[in-house]
Symmetry: C2
Subunit: 281 residues, 2 copies
């Protein structure tokens, strides 16, 4: 794809920093400018080569940018979008990396319509329990899925350009509605996160006995608290549904254990094993 | 420690094979003989150097052995112990690697008393979702915890010898009663296993979206069905209690999400993150 003249990354953490590194490595931007609230993050990001320039001034970062990428926790994205919208160039492409999409997309669809820029929501299913630009990697998105959103307000050519950008930095893109996206991640990301957190709480008195199985199963419970409260609150409906379904499954299995129903329990375990074995490592 | 003249390993899979490899590497046995139902496992084990000799005949394996190690699924251990007991040498040390301890230890305490050998229950918290001697490794127990059991029937000198053996092959040993053991593993191993299984079931319709977080959290759901039904049925009381407590925690968190109680939810997440960060990697 033709490189963007100026890419502005709003939020220079693990995700924002990795986007900068990948975009520069792949030659997708003549200039990458990053903005965030912390001077040290900007310095680290420049040192790593994730940015050509860092600034604390959102206005300066966004001015004349052809591509603006919002890489912050969900509610910050919504708040920031409102603040920077007046300074975004007409015709610019705006995308994001927020973990839930319904709230972000409905807000940004509204804002962008009034201001003459194009918004395409995105969620790269990459990252980890770690945060901060120090952990950023040019290959973070390599082979990872990135879900892009499409609504009635989405401009088809903007969607193509946004898809091309996320693909160029390594992701496998899929297009869903914001609601479909939120339902999928409730099951594949938000519920597992809660499951891990509650395992740590439930086993709190015996954590000194943890083995490798427990460590793997609960790795994501080390994630950042602020990011995750945002995620759960902006995906309340699907997350609470997912918890209800999960509890239902747990109760069914508890019942099979109570009754020592070996044939049904082992059939269930075999089905699950074959589903899990089928997922790429 | 002084090497054993003859060590018999009953069940030559991931655990039995790894015990053989480790015992031979550390010079803990003049001869290691393995027994199981499958000729191919014995051949593989001999090829890997986990055994000096393999046999399908339990009687032959056990005869004159100074150390007998039962490395099979829980209910098979109980069944096999009854069958081989008449052939175990008087004064021999018998230990096991079963994943639950109350049933095994109460059975073996009874059997050993009548037959003049010494039993000390053990559970190495090692292994993985894989099984079979092909995956056996001499360093499987290196740094892993091994819980040994102590009851009124336990001979103190046998407990010391069993501890020394498990330590020599690399484990960090701890002594608990069988009931304490079963309560600990219900929380640190059995509940996480179920949590992973139910996550796969709940997210079954969207598994093609799994990211690295989901894969880690559900790795142990790939474990063997037969081994795990045994585990759950022989630890029913503590496992069902653990499930109940887990469901209680999930419901509390669901409520905080429903009410958007940011301060309490993020306090909880921070507490859990600090507990989880504190565990060795």
């Amino acid at each position: 794809m033709k490189p963007f003249d100026k890419v502005a990354i709003i939020g220079v953490g693990l995700i924002g920093g990795s986007i900068g590194l990948a975009a520069k490595r792949k030659g997708l931007a003549r200039e990458v400018i990053g903005v965030c609230r912390h001077k040290e993050s900007l310095q680290k990001a420049r040192k790593k080569g994730a940015l050509d320039k860092g600034t604390l001034d959102y206005k300066e970062a966004v001015r004349d940018a052809d591509l603006v990428i919002l890489a912050a926790p969900v509610r910050q994205i919504i708040k920031l979008a409102g603040e920077i919208a007046p300074y975004i160039k007409e015709g610019a492409l705006v995308t994001d990396a927020g973990s839930t999409k319904s709230d972000i997309v409905s807000n940004l669809d509204k804002i962008s319509r009034g201001k003459g820029f194009y918004f395409v929501g995105a969620h790269p299913l990459a990252g980890s329990e770690q945060r901060g630009v120090a952990k950023a990697r040019a290959d973070l998105f390599e082979g990872a899925r990135c879900i892009l959103t499409k609504t009635k307000a989405t401009n088809p050519s903007a969607l193509r350009r946004a898809s091309a950008f996320w693909q160029e930095i390594g992701s496998r893109t899929t297009v869903l509605s914001p609601q479909e996206h939120d339902k999928v991640v409730a099951l594949i990301s938000h519920l597992p996160h809660l499951a891990a957190v509650e395992l740590v709480k439930t086993a709190r008195s015996v954590l000194n006995f943890s083995s490798s199985g427990f460590l793997d199963t609960t790795r994501i419970a080390s994630s950042d608290a602020e990011i995750w409260t945002d995620i759960f609150f902006t995906n309340k409906k699907f997350v609470t549904q997912a918890i209800d379904n999960y509890i239902k499954q747990l109760k069914l299995t508890k019942d099979l254990i109570r009754k020592e129903d070996k044939s049904r329990l082992s059939t269930e375990f075999k089905k699950v094993k074959s589903l899990r074995d089928g997922l790429r490592k």
